[in-house]
Symmetry: C2
Subunit: 344 residues, 2 copies
Amino acid sequence: MTEQKQLTELKDLGEFGLIERLTRDIELKHKSSVKGVGDDAAILDYADKQMVVTTDLLVEGIHFDLVYTPLKHLGYKAVVVNLSDVYAMNAVPRQIVVSMAVSGKFSLEAIDQLYEGIHKACEHYNVDLIGGDTTSSVTGLTLSITAMGEVEKGAAVTRAGAKPNDYVCVSGDLGAAYAGLQLLKREKEVFLINPNSQPDMSMYNYILERQLKPEAAKDIHNALKENGIVPTAMIDISDGLSSELLHICKQSGCGAKIYEDKIPVDAQTVSFAQEINMDTTIMALNGGEDYELLFTIKPDDIEKISKINGISVIGKIVPKGDGCKLKGRGEGEVEIRAQGWNAY
Amino acid sequence: MTEQKQLTELKDLGEFGLIERLTRDIELKHKSSVKGVGDDAAILDYADKQMVVTTDLLVEGIHFDLVYTPLKHLGYKAVVVNLSDVYAMNAVPRQIVVSMAVSGKFSLEAIDQLYEGIHKACEHYNVDLIGGDTTSSVTGLTLSITAMGEVEKGAAVTRAGAKPNDYVCVSGDLGAAYAGLQLLKREKEVFLINPNSQPDMSMYNYILERQLKPEAAKDIHNALKENGIVPTAMIDISDGLSSELLHICKQSGCGAKIYEDKIPVDAQTVSFAQEINMDTTIMALNGGEDYELLFTIKPDDIEKISKINGISVIGKIVPKGDGCKLKGRGEGEVEIRAQGWNAY
């Protein structure tokens, strides 16, 4: 039996009431957060550090489908995708501001869940929520998050520093979030045909979690620092390995050669790719939403990197004229393209 | 004769092409903008200064109606409303990040206009555009802007510092933006009934401009500085004088008494209010979108403030127990309320 709960309409609280509720328990943790929510602007003091700033906009129907995305997970993920960009600059996230446009179809209880996810991510990544804006929308939910992080002066790592002979490295494994999304889409179709079906997706819990509750590469960031490795270039994988590698090559003015058999893919991703008759490598190259770090290191750092768990060396940087290529498991090589990469 | 122009669909450029086009001519002006658009995040260095951060979300159909809002003006205004918050902290705006969700109904030429307005505001207020996000939307246009500004350590002015006997001041005049909006709404109704009507709104160009192309109080900020005045509390007027005064009273733990005959209202606002049979004072108190500064000063600063053009002293701060009141032109006093303020 499901209990019938009385839901609260947002308009009963008003904007100020809602903001007060969503931000009531916030305690600022960082010295750099001088003043948070509650004035025209927040005040920050980074002293002798530099700041990195990044922003992301998530739109219902474009970036997420609430049929299979729990609001708590959505809130968590919306924060994580921004923090991932901060780590990709070799910086440590410190603050976020969160704006939300929300239609009348959402209850206060729904928004509470969304913010539970946001607060949980702030806690996990030790980040202060310092401001935002809350407004109505005509339809659906839009979330806009801006994240700020700190880095020692001059220590930020951009996409532009890779040089020939540098090793190309990637954290974690790739393609799982894309596989999880395809699984969710498939089960949604099944559900629409037969609403009484109870899907058993337990054998795929890893790829589901990668889609619904991704994490930013905090541990890898820390491990690199502990082992004295400063990447020469770095980017986070949101649009897929192919696309991100091309960004590094373009901005560093170089080429790259990566090896198919070195690309890290989880066993569940492989199983699911086989189940839906899709090439696993294509999934890993173009899937996206991995929020892993793709980075290059100096040749001398290859021994240090081998000491860190969860990092794969997948290839090398080459001169620009040699292009950006994937060496397949067989003989051939293919040019890497950002979109519509062709199977060989 | 109107020339038929071929409009370009956004999907023909793709996300990266669009970003490249919208950000191609950007030159960073501030030393604090170390790196702008083009990486996972921008890099800022505020050295010995503190930073203020504020954000606003503007949604089509809620905050603007494209029937009477030219996209160029919308872009300009979207920046201004954020800079206004920065000035309200006694800070100088330095950077913005701009995110946009846009549906297929918008052409590239339309988005170019929007960005023309954004760039124009950046130029006028000497602000660097350092990043953002661009995405599709299911319907309509959503703009999210985060602005950053600099302030000497400890010099930020919050809403919390007003004390009894401080004077209450306001810049510019109030109610005009609201009057302009009512005029535009009325003309839209007329247009819907008779699309051939050509409205003559030239006698109301001031109130129209206040609605369509508001400015942030940069000059007042500078004048206060030049005259050695540091407000004890400050807020910008976006939701209306009543609402903002109550914010200051609540956060400063005090009351206020303001005088109806001191509230600055432009002659066009008075004329239009009479035309639509609305009380001018209600318009000035509750209209909002003025983007003027409401601030309090120490009693000793009253002579200095009289030297600055465009500032009205409208009342005084009183002890909390005396409440927040408006002294009318006649005998009576009324309690100020944030919403639904009642005529006396």
